[in-house]
Symmetry: C2
Subunit: 307 residues, 2 copies
């Protein structure tokens, strides 16, 4: 096997009360990537379609992740990477993670799987660092593991794949506005009220319990972020209206995807997710704000080989 | 049925990362209580053995809880309560909760169960309020429901019984020193660093996941409190030594029970819990500090009828 075409799923990080620790993997939103062995002894990005991103391997998240992995292996094998970008960078649904995780997933397959999916995480995190300046894992973890992934700890890295209830679907809307990562960070406060932190970890316990017991009502009651959302939502036009529309259409709950501007809602059943997506879209249509909208199952496996 | 004798279990609140939200129920540590119907039309505490506590119903947590429940029912039925106290007040293992929850559990049984266990919580919380000034639920919830109980939210009250792995045991040591509730509160800070709050809810997610999957290693990795324990442990002599002794003897983890001074450790298997208890006891024995020590399974049902 010298060449693979893979599907690199989009992901939602910062799932409400799980800010910085909980992400989930989407099923039908994602990039494609072709990875092939070469005898050139280096990683090269030979093609990027759909977005204007750097071809130099050292400046591309896929290239950086691939090189980190090959360095750890001590491998001199060369690889060519083609990226067919469908996830928009800056949309908040894990565009850089899809490329970073995709590169290491594909190369790992072509090398006969020297690493487990969890062992690939630190390499993909190097790509995330290039993209955002931080070694965060809450997009690359669900991209590589699928389902809901909990980053329990960074030092040492401890990622747990949680149970995903079968009827859970996501509606995601991406308003075509830019939220600068620097702005999304600057609105955060270094300290939070203890009382709100307690609410947050109470909800976190409830959400994880709801996932394991497939208790959709408990999931709904737990999907709250009382700390980050009140600050970051101010950067997203019509956030409150969109969220209200989602809840009124029957969504279990939702919030900001990643650091925005995408907004997600979790729903019971595909039909409801479609209604919720339509309701959310209505708000931006009325406001004259361009948007993309997605309805997706929760992807149980993460990266997939297409051919 | 006009009379019941019940077992009122001790409980551990503030289970590490679950400060203020997560409690568990002990199996073989607890009070007994006799409750009987009378035709006097009022609640009276007729006997308290083992501790010097108020007999006036309005000043006794069992009396206050019972009266709150009967008021809600609009019942004029009278009850006599005898309390055989084995849990020491101020020990940090839910002494007041055992009496508050016991009274409403017993009366509910004698009245033909007009309330579910969860519906009894607000009445038992009135007793807790008398004892501590706050309507907290993280002892009365596991006392009434058994197992691990999560107080996801107080407004509205939302309590979830989590799964309890079968091999989980607790070792609890109570050094005979007093930690004033006011002191335990005054060391807390109103705000906490966001970074530590994230660690805490990451651990909360890991702990709940570990409980459902019976993954004892994950439970062990998640049993940390990075926010409250560093402050409150200073009020408990030899806390660090006792905790270290527990971990070295193989405990999964542990921390302060309630607001102390009891220290608990969770262990896999009864034999290990006994070893851990012995190691913890050794520290206080060497330091010349009197103590009680308990080894207990996790009580899956909470309150029990003895006869």
């Amino acid at each position: 096997m010298n060449e693979l075409r893979i599907f690199c799923p989009a992901t939602i990080a910062n799932v409400t009360c799980g800010f910085d620790v909980l992400g989930l993997c989407l099923d039908n939103v994602g990039d494609e990537m072709v990875i092939r062995k070469t005898d050139k002894g280096e990683v090269s990005i030979t093609r990027i379609e759909g977005q204007d991103l750097p071809l130099e391997a050292e400046k591309n998240v896929a290239g950086v992740s691939a090189m980190a992995m090959l360095k750890a292996l001590g491998s001199k094998q060369g690889f060519e990477i083609e990226i067919y970008k469908k996830i928009k960078p800056g949309s908040g649904i894990g565009s850089s993670a899809a490329s970073a995780a995709g590169a290491v997933f594909g190369i790992n397959k072509l090398l006969g799987e020297p690493f487990t999916a969890k062992e690939l995480l630190p390499f993909a995190m190097e790509g995330e660092k290039l993209a955002s300046g931080a070694l965060h894992a809450d997009n690359v973890a669900p991209a590589l593991l699928g389902g809901f992934s909990l980053v329990r700890s960074y030092e040492p890295l401890d990622v747990i794949k949680l149970h995903t209830p079968g009827a859970l679907f996501a509606a995601v809307i991406h308003p075509q506005i830019e939220v600068k990562t620097a702005d999304a960070r600057s609105v955060l406060k270094h300290s939070v009220p203890l009382k709100k932190a307690i609410q947050q970890w109470g909800n976190m316990g409830g959400l994880v319990s709801g996932l394991y017991t497939e208790d959709y009502e408990l999931i709904a009651r737990s999907l709250h972020d009382v700390i980050i959302e009140p600050l970051r939502s101010l950067l997203i036009p019509k956030f409150d209206d969109v969220k209200r529309a989602a809840l009124e259409a029957g969504a279990l709950g939702g919030g900001i995807s990643g650091s925005g501007p995408s907004i997600f809602a979790l729903c019971k059943g595909q039909a409801n997710a479609a209604e919720v997506a339509e309701s959310m879209a209505g708000i931006y249509a009325d406001a004259g704000i361009d948007f993309d909208v997605h309805v997706s199952g929760i992807n149980p496996v993460g990266m997939r080989i297409i051919s």
